[in-house]
Every structure is written in C-alpha cells, then in structure tokens.
C-alpha cells in the first residue's frame, strides 16, 4: 500500500530528466548484479575480467548518481557554484577515464 503511494508520488513529482537518469541507473545496477551473480555461482576466473566489469558498473553508477544529485533542482542550495553543464562535463570526463581503465584491465 505504502509502496504504491510511493511509486505514484515518484511518477508524479519527479522531473523527466531525473527519471531518465534513474532509468540509466537501474540498467547499470542490473548489469552489475548479473556480473556478480555469475562470479559467485559459476566461476571467478578470470578474476581481472570480473573486477574490470564490476568496477565498470559500480564506477558508472557512482558517477551517474553524483550527476543526478548535482542536476536536481531541489539541491540548488547545496550546489551553488556548480552549474548543470559543469556537472555533466565532470560526469562525461570521469566516465571516459573509467572506461579507459576498465578496458585496460579487462584483458
């Protein structure tokens, strides 16, 4: 009962752009969980590949979550000196560096 109210309230009150970021976050979480489950159930060989793939999911989640925090209009008071464009640029740069590391470590 409370969950459906929460869900309705989320759909009504969240701006479209944030919902778009949330969808991307869900996708990243799913990919990370799948990799982790495979590692635990089937095999953790090769371990470097697991670390790279999992780090890719976790790192991308962290960057996207911080982008959402900085872009949310309700947080304007906390992020006065960071414009949404600056936040997105940080996010993009961080993601590029993350992917560079991931593909190197993936083997």
């Amino acid at each position: 009962m409370a969950v459906s109210t929460l869900w309705k309230s989320y759909l009504d009150q969240t701006p479209d752009r944030l919902k778009f970021i949330d969808a991307f976050l869900v996708f990243i979480v799913l990919s990370g969980v799948l990799q982790f489950v495979y590692c635990v159930l089937v095999t953790n060989f090769p371990f470097n590949a697991f670390l790279a793939g999992f780090a890719s999911s976790v790192g991308q989640f962290v960057l996207t979550a911080s982008l959402r925090a900085q872009v949310n209009p309700e947080n304007r008071s906390e992020f006065k000196e960071v414009s949404p464009e600056r936040a997105f640029a940080d996010f993009a740069l961080g993601s590029i560096v993350l992917h560079f590391f991931v593909f190197n470590f993936l083997g």
């Binding site: 752009r17 778009f20 970021i21 991307f24 996708f27 990243i28 990919s31 990370g32 799948l34 990799q35 495979y38 089937v42 095999t43 060989f45 090769p46 590949a49 697991f50 790279a52 793939g53 999992f54 890719s56 999911s57 991308q60 996207t64 997105f88 993009a92 993601s95 992917h99 991931v102 593909f103 993936l106 083997g107």
Partner: protein
Amino acid sequence: MRLLSSVLVTLLALTKISFASSSSVLVVLDPSLNREDYSIFFGGLEERGYNLTFRAPKDDTPAITDYGVPNYDHVILFAPDTKSYAQDITPQSLVGLLSENINLLIALSPKQTPLTSLAAEFSLILPPPETPLISHHPARSEPITTIPVPVSSSSPILTPGIPPIWFTGAPHALGSTPMLVPILRAPAESFAADSTSDADSDALIAASEKSGEGLWAGSRMGLVTGFQTKVNSRVVFAGGVKMFSDEYAKKELPSGGAPGNALFATDVAAWVFQEKLRLRIDGVEHHRVGESVAPEVYTTNDEIVYTAHISAYDSKTSAWKPYSGVDDLQLEFTMLDPHIRTSLPAVPGSPGTYQIRFRAPDRHGVFKFVLNWKRKGYSYLESSTTVPVVPPRHDQYPRFLSAAWPYYAGAISTSIGFFLFAALWLAGDVKGERKKGSKVE
C-alpha cells in the same frame, strides 16, 4: 678410354661387394679332435659363405687381433679339454673380443678347464667337475652319457620341428641375468652325476631327499645357452662338442629316424654369427603434427609425431631390409621419469616404419625420446633423443577467454549505455534550449 676405365671401376666395385658378404671364422680346434669328424658342420658353414681358418689352442698364429684390430669376425672354440692356451686366446681375452663385436661359439666339457670360470662370468653355473649329464631314458643301446634330447620350439632361434638331438657333455644352471638366451634344456629325466655306475648314487639320493638342494637334475638345467652383450655381440655355450660331430649327426634315434643335430647346429651357428634375429634402428624422426622438420624447441601441450625406422638383416641377400614385425615396440618421453609411455605401432603402408602421435606433457624441461627394446634372442634396440620443452610465450595464450564473456558484455554494455545516455541528454538539452530561448522571446 673413359668407358674402359669406368668398366674397370665397376668390376672392381662388384668384386668388393661379393667378398664383403663372406665372414671369416677362426676355429680353435683341439689337436685331439679330428677336423674330418666335424665335416658336416664345417662344410655347412663354408657352404654358407664363411671362410674357416683352423688353429690349435697352443699355436700363436694366426693371431686373432693385430695391434688391436680384429682379423676375424667370429671365433669357434672347440677345445673343451685343453688346460692351457696361447697368449691371445685365453678365455679372458676372448671376453675382450666380444666388445669388438666378435661372436663366439664355445664348447664346454665335464672337465675343469679355464672355460669353466669363463662360463661363470656369463652367469652359467657348471656342476662339480667330472659330472657329465646322464639319463637312463629312453632305453637305448648307447651308453647312458649319450642322450637324445628333445628340442622345444619355443625359442625364436630354432626353426620349429627339429627332431631330438644326440648330446654328450655337461649341463649348466642358468643365472638370473636377462641377457642369457636359453636354447636347449636338459630332458626332465636327466641328471648330472660323477659316476656312470648306479652303485655310487648316494650323493644324488641325499640331494634329492634334501628337497632338491644341490640336485643337478631336470629340465631347469641348460645344455646350450646363448648370451647377447650390450653391443649386440653373441656367445653360445654348448655343453659338449660331440653334438656337432658327424657321428652324432648320422646316428639313428632310439625311436627311429634321423636326429636333428645338423639342423640344430646350423640354427645355432646362424644365430651366433648374426645371420638371424639381427635388427637395427636406421633412424628416428620427431616433429610437430603438420610440420616435417624437427623444431629447435617444443612447447608444452604440443602434438608431437615420432617415427622410427627399423631394419632386419637378411642373410640370403646380405642386406638390411625394412622390418615391420616388431609388435611390442614402446616409446617413452622421459624427464627423470617417463611422463609418456606409449606403444609404437607399425605403419601399415610403409615397411619398417613405426609411428605414434602424442601430446607433450604440461611440464616444461629437457625431455628424451627413449626407445629401449630388449627381447631374448633379438638384437637390442636402443635410441635416445634429447629435446627441450619450453612453456608458452606470453603471446601464445588464448586472447579472449570464453569464461569471461559476461564480464566483457557487462563492460561493453556499460560503455554503450553511457554514450547513448550522453547523446540523449545533450539532445534533450538542445531541445530545452530552443524551448527556453523561444519562451524568453
């Protein structure tokens, strides 16, 4: 002129070939033995192309070796009762001849001679002196020391179906060395005793009551035994010299029929003088599957093909012919211990070729291909080839591992997701800008 000289050279080469096929044999014959009494045996040898030279044990000439180089290919020692020999044919020097690949045929006797201790060097234990072989069966008119011995066909040296042979002499017991090749065993009902009179058989009865200890009897005694040395030279010790004589070759058996002495002597001489059962490895090759040249190094887990070429000597044509009759050849791929031990079967299409394919073990190190085949009566086949086996280089491992595809998929999907997200976000931004801009206006 050129034609004439080439014809001469060809003739010379041909004559050389025909002489090379004959072997020279030195026969050391005791003066008490008459050469004509052994004419069947010696005549048979000469017919087969051997050049026989006769000499007494005490003579100095003809010398067997001149300054260490042997003059003869084989030596027959028919001097069973001689107590002293000339310098160069003492039994001890004969052992040295074996390492020069000279084959020996030696006749023993019940007397105590230097040959007794020579036989002991070859793990043949002779009975006490003056104890010839005696058998009371089968009933016959000959003395009890002249015995017809049945010939078993189990040895590959003898042609099957030889009738019993007449034998007079001493038996011997065989030691445990695997280099001994038993050729003829004593009949089960025979024994060695020091008197031909049955009245003195106390020692025999005492020994048999002591559960056979010291009892020289039965078919575990050998009468004719061969020995093959590590360099594949052969010696045969025969318990008596009379079985090679004409008299025994013609004497009728008690059960009727001709004896097999001549046939037996021919077979034994053929084996000792390296006519029969003589094999050699012509060459071995090894390479990876799909290649034809041996590489400098092998890598672990390589598929390797090993080939051996084996020939047998054909005395009729005096030539080595490829031989595919070895059916239990084994190959070992060894580093301190054999990591691989597999059979080397003959290849059906090519005579004399034996081939096997196997995977190099998952250990790196210095390995040997070892071929070691030793069977009684046949020449020993030994070959060892050393090769290094190295671990894979850094770029010889598989590039992408199939166990890691979920991780590859996860990383790639995250990257693609990020790019799509960024593109859509920026497109949304542009749309928002246009909307905002028009609103401001």
